[in-house]
Symmetry: C2
Subunit: 257 residues, 2 copies
Amino acid sequence: MQNANNISIIGSGNVGHHLAKELSKVGVSVTHISGHNTKSDSGLANEIGAEVCEIEKLPKDQLVLICVRDEAINEVLEQLDNSIPAAYTSGSIQLNDLPERTDLGVFYPLQTFTKGRELNISQVPFFIEATNTDFSNRLMKLASEISENVNLASSTERKNMHVAAVMVNNFTNHILHEAKTYSDEHNIDFKHFLPLLNETVNKLKSDTPYDAQTGPARRGDQQTIEDHLNSLEGLSKEIYKLISDSIKRTYPKNDEL
Amino acid sequence: MQNANNISIIGSGNVGHHLAKELSKVGVSVTHISGHNTKSDSGLANEIGAEVCEIEKLPKDQLVLICVRDEAINEVLEQLDNSIPAAYTSGSIQLNDLPERTDLGVFYPLQTFTKGRELNISQVPFFIEATNTDFSNRLMKLASEISENVNLASSTERKNMHVAAVMVNNFTNHILHEAKTYSDEHNIDFKHFLPLLNETVNKLKSDTPYDAQTGPARRGDQQTIEDHLNSLEGLSKEIYKLISDSIKRTYPKNDEL
């Protein structure tokens, strides 16, 4: 008989930390924390009134959320008693690539988590998948306790989502790293760009990025593009050139200005 | 004798529109609007209680803000009586590239403006430059009426700033266009990525983009990168590859995970 209101969490990193605290807040009892980082595990356990426990000794009558790095999921599953229903939080690991198990599922929050940062989890989209409908229903219900945006998604859909998420988070962040590096080199305080960055993102609540685009490449202003390229070198120059080319091709006629 | 509290504005596009309204709000009298778009000019004039006026007939005893496209600034200056103090709002046009004039200056807001969108102008950085100190002081004072972040900047500094601003706004926006195109092609609702995007930007209030970076390229996870590249083609694939390479080179040892 499964205890529907108790769960265990493996991994006290960024994701485990946030999920443990958010689930506790809404009355789900996170009773056991497992992991390889004694200090972090016991810190989290203390914060939410759970106990630290070895993976092999986790209670068998309650769900486990596996919040570890992609490479470690397989190993964790091997240590975990086969009767325990388990869901992992990775976007890229396919359900089919893991060893068979009665109740295995995915509990994937599409967000970048950092310990200690407050986050409005109710707006974070969760994507659920499982080896059987009963278990996916159970995971949907659990995610709905903390988020207003809970969806079913296949492993393929989640993989596609991960490609786009890499662009949205990692690539925009890297472009901003490039901008900051350039600013630092030219003694410009990067803080001056934060209102511009906020507005860039805020616009997308009402406009598509296609409609929101402005700037020299959008206008086909080749003179400014050349001027800018002359002040760059190496990979930064290649990135400037390639993205400008891509913007120019996105608006081939520059006819909507 | 100059009337210190009255100004005229040439151009009723995105920038002219915002500046006219924000300056009016704080008690600066925007008395005259000039431009080439009769409907937009008179719409703005009506909104703020100004009159529409030909450039050649603008009052000579008050400052003019020239809020037109880069290519049109020269032409506007030629039509404007030489005794009128004038400042333009462009980031890229150098003061030295324009015809000489007693009081010529730059009144550059580092922001992307869209008519009809509310914007907290007090946080927008303004960068001021002028042919003489009295005039730059006057422009500093005017900008300080609406913004808490007013700075002097040379034409060279402004040009460098523009390079970084293109990255911060145009390039991140294009990456997001790429992500949205990919999502559309794979039937993923792009709205799911907005909380992730917001958090990407919010993190930069406390972290540098260098510290905030995560993802497959950051981890040196070549298998995931290859998987993702296989699902892309053309310029999108080139962008994915180049930015991933650049991220990998930014963290050569992957030693900070």
